[in-house]
Symmetry: C2
Subunit: 217 residues, 2 copies
DNA sequence: ATATATTTTTAGACATACCTAAAATTATTA
DNA sequence: TAATAATTTTAGGTATGTCTAAAAATATAT
């Protein structure tokens, strides 16, 4: 499996959550910052390898085999992120690019031992679940902060975007995993919110609220 | 810098020890299990990037820049080997292939932090020196066991080959880094030796003796 | 329902890194 | 030193993964 093939699989795996059915060619092209024609070429190749179900003009779905493989890449990515934060003093906004490289290293023993070394973690530094060895991803019930009404509250359990800028902004606001968050008010004009973050009152934009996941009590 | 370019640089770096002067095209081709014509192609590219000095038919030498870059790859390779053995229960015969992949991961912070995490080791699990951040390789005075005469003795400080088969054989003989080794006798017919390994008498072939480094007392 | 817009695929190129076969150069030896 | 052998380079070709531009299919809107 080439690096490029792995990246396509992974992208389809992630997009499959947004599109419940087939993932459109263009969605893949956009996410990978490439052209639709390149995607088409690759989809044909992945289809020949039985990693995706592909019918012209109908988008793609991962096969069981493809999903398993994709999950194993995501598993590696997230395990490495844990390692970087827990052992190498990386912050949650620094891990992505490095994990993006480390996820392609091939060695079953490496993954097994790393998992063991880290104490078999279940989530990465952004709160995303780490697929298990069989490719199963534990589904958490979490909702976007933007979907909450004033008065509702919960624990911050994840972020939708992993962009450095965003994560650094959260650090500045002192918003992090595990924090207690309550929606105090919501502005009808622009959907911005005033929230209580571990007891501290602060105001966030709709865009920010739309990238924070909480688990309701 | 592509993966391929990095592998060529590294190979030239290693071969430069054997050939004191320019490294011949064919030597590179053999080591990399590729064809001389492919090597020529790459040497031209590396020369354009000022990473090697290359004159047609005259072999190559690394430039300062090329040597620095190559050393940084070797540094990463060896640091990862230490990590695999010290923290992930790898044995010295298992680390090479995985380190071969990990060495290409690009992140200065990753290397710095890994070095720190491991306690700034100076040698890898095979006794090979780890280049420092500036690309300097600490030169050890070590000699091949095959070059020793009966009566001479020293400490095992390295191996010339990193082949799994060979390392596993050493494990079976219980020969490892730090062991006290003395040459008891040498057979003139085939240069095989009887040695004392940490007090235990055993017999080894000339080929084996030619792949073990010791440091004389 | 037909025209228009959007999405997707095809066709044909390009760069990388490899290959084989033949030519050029350098080294060896008689 | 001339002939032969070995090494190295060149020339031309292949597979991968990308691209642009044009054609085909699907979706949308009047």
């Amino acid at each position: 499996m080439t690096l490029s093939e792995e990246n396509y699989l992974k992208t389809i795996f992630h997009l499959a959550r947004d599109f419940d059915k087939e993932v459109p060619t263009n969605a893949i092209a956009e996410k990978m910052e490439t052209k639709a024609s390149s995607v088409t070429d690759m989809l044909k190749k992945l289809a020949e390898k039985k990693l995706v179900h592909y019918k012209k003009y109908q988008g793609v779905k991962l096969t069981d085999q493809g999903r398993f493989y994709a999950a194993s890449i995501v598993r590696k990515h997230r395990l490495w992120e844990v390692f970087l934060v827990e052992n190498l003093n990386f912050t949650w906004d620094e891990v992505h690019d490095v994990a993006e490289q480390l996820e392609h290293v091939k060695s079953e023993k490496l993954v097994d031992e790393l998992d063991e070394f880290l104490g078999k973690p279940t989530v990465d530094p952004h709160g995303d679940p780490i697929p298990d060895k069989s490719g199963n991803v534990q589904r958490m019930e979490k909702i976007l902060l933007s979907a909450c009404k004033p008065g509702e509250s919960g624990t911050c359990v994840g972020v939708k975007s992993n962009a450095s800028r965003f994560l650094q902004y959260l650090d500045k606001l002192e918003i992090g995993l595990g924090n207690e968050i309550e929606i105090l008010s919501k502005e009808p004009f622009d959907q911005s919110m005033v929230i209580s973050n571990n007891g501290k009152k602060l105001s966030i934009s709709a865009l920010t609220a739309n990238n924070i996941y909480i688990q309701k009590k």
